[in-house]
Each structure stands twice: as structure tokens, then as C-alpha cells.
């Protein structure tokens, strides 16, 4: 943590090497979080680019004060995603119907180890996440695509860690049912 704090301080002094280090460390996680939220790789590239350019522009205003750098960066990403969907909603985004969800690839339920054996693609996961509430979707995206800890996720979402754990639990239960519709939650 101390090492990251030093790196951030150097980046705030516009040290290219320090900012490069932060970029390398967080780029893939930010990209994966965004791609899962916007379900389109071209849009995800544009937004990821904007996140890092905004981070570069505003890094001077970042202060630790209990918020890890990753949480700060993911909050920028979250805001980008929200703006993106606002714009899209003006363009009348088509919501997925149940049939389209099935087509997008809900996994079959005829094999007890289906999730382990059938490779779930990010498009399927993203489509399944559409059926979750905003909070549940955000937790899944931050935890599994962004690779954030519960504490970091809580900071990004402005929630308590306990609330994040509850959302995570409910979201996973729901995701399992969506991805394996015939299961009926016998184990859950």
C-alpha cells in the first residue's frame, strides 16, 4: 500500500513512469469491468480510454483519505458507464427479452457440472447480469471483472462492506439460476 501511495504521489507530479505503472496495473481490470457493463468491446475501448485520460487530468485531486487508488479509478469508470447508458437510453436501447436471453446462451441444465464444464463467455455473463438489479450487477462487475476486494467495492459503491456481501450473495444465487434455469436453486 505504501508503495502504491508513493507511485500515486509521483504520478501526481506527472512522472510518466509512475503513471505508466498505475496504468499497467489497472488497465485490464478497468477494461474488463467496462466491457461487462456495456456489453460491447468497441464502446468499452472508448470508455477505457476516457477513464485513463480523465484519471490523468484529475489525479492531482486524488487524496487517500481511506479510499484506495483502485476504488477512485473504478469510480471514474463507473461514472463513465452511467453516462454511456444515459446517452444510449436516449437512443432507445433495446432490452433483452427472455427469448433473446436464452439465445444469448443460458447454459443447459442437463449436466450437474455444467458451469464448470461449459465455458461461459463474457457475452453470456453480461446478458445474464442484465437480469440482476443495478446494485447486484455492479457488485458482480467490480468483484469478478474488476477484481476488487469487498472493501474496495464498498468504497466505489459508497456502501458498507456488509451490504456488499449481501448483494454479492443474492447476485450469485440469482446468476446461478439464470445460467442454469432448470436448477431451481436446490443447492442454494
Amino acid at each position: 500500500m505504501q508503495r502504491e501511495e508513493d507511485t500515486v504521489r509521483r504520478a501526481q507530479r506527472r512522472d510518466p513512469e509512475a503513471f505508466g505503472q498505475l496504468y499497467e496495473e489497472h488497465f485490464d481490470r478497468i477494461y474488463r469491468y467496462i466491457v461487462l457493463r456495456v456489453r460491447n468491446q468497441a464502446d468499452a475501448e472508448d470508455l477505457t480510454q476516457q477513464v485513463f485520460l480523465k484519471a490523468l487530468e484529475h489525479i492531482g485531486s486524488y487524496h487517500y483519505r481511506g479510499m484506495p487508488f483502485a476504488s477512485w479509478l473504478f469510480r471514474i469508470a463507473h461514472n463513465q458507464v452511467v453516462d454511456h447508458w444515459k446517452k444510449k437510453s436516449r437512443e432507445k436501447v433495446k432490452l433483452l427479452t427472455q427469448d433473446e436471453m436464452a439465445e444469448a446462451g443460458a447454459l443447459s441444465d442437463d449436466d450437474p457440472a455444467a458451469l464448470a464444464e461449459q465455458k461461459l463467455g463474457w457475452e453470456q455473463l453480461a446478458a445474464a447480469c442484465e437480469q440482476l438489479s443495478d446494485g447486484q450487477r455492479e457488485v458482480i462487475s467490480l468483484r469478478f471483472a474488476g477484481g476488487l476486494s469487498v472493501a474496495e467495492t464498498a468504497k466505489v459503491m459508497g456502501k458498507r462492506e456488509g451490504a456488499v456481501k449481501v448483494l454479492q450473495h443474492v447476485a450469485l444465487k440469482k446468476l446461478r439460476l439464470i445460467l442454469r434455469p432448470g436448477d431451481g436453486g436446490a443447492n442454494g
Binding site: Q41, T48, L172
Partner: protein, 256 residues
């Protein structure tokens, strides 16, 4: 009680994402195992599915933009888009950056990058070089052979990262590995319908079988002796096997 289960679930998820196997986690909490297992498997599937890779040339492009802005003394050009490349179409930027990386970086850099590992600075150059080689390859069988060679590279990288306990990068490389296998399968499928390609497909099958033996041996050895990462390595070995079996099935061979 409910709160406690959520704490346990969270702890197990963190452990599994760090490379511990689901079974190891379940053994820690036998009373909750029935409820934990499906949720942990869903968590693992979600993590693996979301380990999608950006294009290396895109990553290089953004890095270049940031570097340009920092070098320019932090002048604010955010509203103007790309400071040097301007309003050039996206595809042109991508192609230009890709070739810039490879050509302007110099052949010695490209050569040095070929042995770089995912945590090296030169690794994006290695990936960009691979992409160019794939694009320049004109034939489906040529592309398939190249993908097979790249599978070997990915296995070496997984072994390197697993030894370092870098679970996050291992997942990422495993996704790339799966993408290479899918590409081989699709390319063989394309060729299989054409007359006179049986010999070439059969040769490729032999090459695949030879690679499977050595790569599996490496992953098995790693899975047995790598402590906390063994669960992660064994999962990847399983996915690798399934991938090869799909390819060999298509090639009309034994599912070795």
C-alpha cells in the same frame, strides 16, 4: 446466521480467486458446503468469463496517448481527442500503432519481446507481433499451425505465472489459450470441407498430439507441486484438455 454465511462466502470467494480450489474451501466449512459449492462455482465461472482481453494494440495506443500528454507538460487536450493522431479513423490508428510498435521499436526489441513474460514491459510487443504474424499468414492451415505454436507460449507463460502465484494473470492467459484453441478448431473446420486437405489436417493432428503430451506433463507437474496455486493450475489443465479434445475430435483423431 445469514450475515455469517455471507462472510464465509466472501472469504471463500477471495480464496478461490487467489487460486485455492473450490474443494479446499468447502473442506474448511463442511457445514455450509452444500450451500457454498454452487455459489463458488458460479463465482469461478463469472471470473473466468469476465477475463476478457483488450487488443494489445489498443492498450499500446492509450499508453502512447498518455505518454504524449505527460511529455507535453500536461497541457489539457482532453476535449480534442488524440493529441497527435487527431481525427484519424479508428481502424487506421489501430493499424498504424500496431506497425509502429513492431517496426519503429526495432527488430532487436521485437526479438527480445518474443521471450518476454506477461509481467514484462515488452509483453505487449510480443502480443502485437503475434497478431501481425497471424494477419500476415495467408492460409488457414498456416494460421492454425501458428496458433498451435502460440498455445505452447501461453502454456509456458501460465507455468511462469503459476510459480509466482499470480492468479489474476494466469486467468487472463488461460483465456488467451482457450482463444487459440478455438481458433485452431474453427480453422480446421473451414479446411475440412475442402478437397485434398486431409493430409495437411492429419499432419496438424500429429503436431497437436505431440504438443498435448509435453504441455500436459508440464501442467500436471505444476499442479502437483505448486501449493496454493495447484487448484488453479488443475482447473486450467482441465480446460486445456477439453479444448484439445474438441480440436482433435474435429481433426478426426483420438481424444488423447
Amino acid at each position: 446466521m445469514a450475515e455469517r454465511f455471507e462472510d464465509i462466502l466472501s472469504e471463500c470467494i477471495d480464496r478461490v480467486l487467489q487460486g485455492e480450489s473450490v474443494e479446499q474451501c468447502l473442506a474448511r466449512y463442511p457445514e455450509q458446503a452444500g450451500e457454498l459449492e454452487p455459489l463458488l462455482r458460479t463465482a469461478v465461472a463469472a471470473r473466468e468469463a469476465s477475463a476478457v482481453e483488450s487488443r494489445p494494440e489498443f492498450k499500446a495506443q492509450v499508453r502512447y496517448q498518455i505518454h504524449s500528454r505527460l511529455s507535453a507538460g500536461g497541457r489539457k487536450t482532453a476535449q480534442k481527442g488524440m493529441p497527435v493522431l487527431g481525427w484519424v479513423p479508428r481502424w487506421a490508428v489501430v493499424v498504424a500503432v500496431m506497425f509502429l510498435v513492431i517496426l519503429l521499436a526495432g527488430s532487436s526489441t521485437v526479438a527480445a519481446s518474443s521471450t518476454s513474460m506477461p509481467d514484462d514491459t515488452l509483453y505487449p510487443v510480443k502480443l502485437a507481433t503475434e497478431n501481425v504474424r497471424l494477419r500476415l499468414n495467408r492460409t488457414n492451415m498456416g494460421k492454425a499451425r501458428l496458433h498451435v505454436a502460440l498455445v505452447d507460449r501461453r502454456i509456458q507463460e501460465i507455468a511462469y505465472l503459476a510459480r509466482k502465484g499470480d492468479a489474476e494473470r494466469v486467468e487472463r492467459i488461460a483465456s488467451r489459450l482457450a482463444a487459440h484453441l478455438d481458433a485452431v478448431r474453427r480453422l480446421i473446420e473451414l479446411e475440412a470441407g475442402k478437397p485434398g486437405r486431409q493430409q495437411a489436417i492429419s499432419d496438424l493432428k500429429e503436431l497437436l498430439e505431440e504438443r498435448v503430451r509435453s504441455n500436459e506433463a508440464l501442467l500436471l507437474q505444476l499442479g502437483e507441486g505448486n501449493g496454493s496455486s495447484s487448484g488453479m493450475v488443475n482447473r486450467i489443465l482441465e480446460r486445456y484438455r477439453q479444448g484439445w479434445q474438441r480440436v482433435l475430435g474435429l481433426a478426426g483423431g483420438s481424444n488423447g
